[in-house]
């Protein structure tokens, strides 16, 4: 249990919730969040958006019942959270691009803070959000609303790329990266129950066999990912 410090909508339906406490976590890892004692039953996986000495924050979109309850939390109220879980983005050297689409921008902010030299590309369908946070820490930020942000990314310019977003966007980036020497890591999503590798509910088929998104992931080198399986989610 921890106290909510603030919980504000950046644009309609998209919130940043700041929670009090000294939490651990690296870029690309996530927490399992619950509010309410019995309903909904399962916690929801949400990426770490930002973390400081005395707070952790999450950027989330109201999708269904779980996230809708999150959005009703007022400062001073309590929320349950367990984490950090997952592997997170790897430590890399050399030039780096961070490519996020929509909610997929959430796990990239910590990476941008960690690698101030990174070039950031953010794509949104209708309305941009959270761009200022990236502008405050990154060397360059390009934003596109509508259309595809992937058009602006040239993989040949980067030794490494981290990406998170809708599957078609990830796949477009993967195709564009093929044949270049750039190493692409993508953050994947699966419904989760335990979040720690015990239930096998989040298993994803990869070229290396079954992998638990909560434990061996959510970040995978793109060569391992079977996009057919990702589309099925």
């Amino acid at each position: 249990m921890a106290n909510v410090i603030s919980n504000v909508a950046l644009v309609p339906g998209i919130y940043v919730m700041k929670i009090e406490g000294n939490f651990r976590g690296r870029m690309g890892q996530f927490y399992m969040l619950r509010s309410g004692r019995n309903y909904p039953l399962l916690p929801r996986p949400i990426s770490i958006y930002d973390i400081g000495e005395d707070y952790i924050s999450f950027l989330y979109r109201v999708v269904g019942e779980g996230t809708s309850l999150f959005s009703q939390l007022q400062p001073g109220q309590e929320i349950q959270l367990e984490g950090p879980f997952g592997n997170g983005f790897p430590q890399v050297e050399g030039s780096l691009a961070l490519v996020g689409g929509g909610m997929g921008t959430a796990p990239l902010l910590l990476a941008a803070k960690h690698y101030p030299h990174a070039h950031v590309y953010l794509g949104f369908v209708q309305q941009a959000f959270g761009v200022e946070a990236f502008e405050a820490v990154a060397a360059s930020v390009q934003v596109k609303v509508g259309g595809s942000i992937i058009e602006q990314v040239d993989p040949a310019h980067y030794v490494n790329m981290f990406s998170c977003g809708p599957t078609p966007m990830l796949q477009a980036l993967a195709m564009k990266t093929e044949g270049t020497s750039s190493r692409l890591y993508i953050s994947t999503e699966r419904h989760m129950a335990c979040g720690i590798g015990a239930c096998l509910g989040c298993t994803m088929r990869t070229r290396e066999g079954n992998r638990r998104v909560c434990k061996e992931g959510p970040v995978f080198p793109v060569e391992e990912v079977e996009f057919d399986d990702l589309h099925g989610v």
Binding site: H191, A198, C199, G201, K215, G232
Partner: protein, 310 residues
Amino acid sequence: MISMACNIAGVAFKNPIIMASGTFGFGREYAEFYSPELLGGIVGKGLTLHPKAGNMGSRIHETASGMLNSVGLENPGVAAFLKDELDDMTRWNTAVIANVGGSNLEEYVQAAAMITENAQKRRTMNRRGVDMLELNISCPNVKQGGMQFGIQTEVARDVVRQVRNVTALPLVVKLSPNAENITQMAVMCEEEGADGVSLINTFSAMKIDIRRRRSVFANTYAGLSGPAIKPIALRMVHQVAQAVSIPVIGMGGISSVEDIIEFIMAGAAAIQVGTYNFVHLHAGSELVYGLEQWMQREKVQSLDEIRGIL
């Protein structure tokens, strides 16, 4: 002195709280959060003779007060379990139960025989092995086998008889709520020499994605667990406990100390906790401490005082 201890088929459990198959892995993941030694026992992830990749597509979906799962018995197979997992599992001072599934009779028998042989071999080397077998004739998530055995009593009889023939380990048969007659099924298990029965596995259930106009699950149906099934599970445990004289391990939606007491009052020798492990990471330790406090508060020295009082 309060004692939570219980004995099932000669296996000592320090308390009646056992983690259910498929919800606790092989214990390792949860051991990062609390010691499995607190628990009465652990049932490992359901094993099949050969490794199994499990089902494609979505595997879990939350429902009102429950969840659907379609994991499809993803597991490393018996040989890999004995080689890679058992040492870790037996390192903790808690009862270790292997849950065995299969897609045909032969697979059940071979898997049970392998685990039994391994346990005997380890014993001669003074090492702990599997303490008990839980025969899973009730998984609704595999196309062939699994639940087909758990529905008709006479089909299940063959499996139980043949597995009994090859194992000297304490044998508990896990029953399906989808059985045509769960009491008859339990009586059959007793007749065939099972040392206990555990119930219930998940209910065969369904969820439709109306936008895509198809089932959420590649297998169409999935298994329902969690608080939603508790009242039915409790009724089944009560009925079965009255019909057999072997121990009954009860489960289905247990999420509090009060739930545990209900199952014990209905006649359960011990209980298993499944879905609640996902709700609260520390479910196991919370329930063990909670049960002890409840017994102190209610001045119940031993659970025998309340077991089967209904």
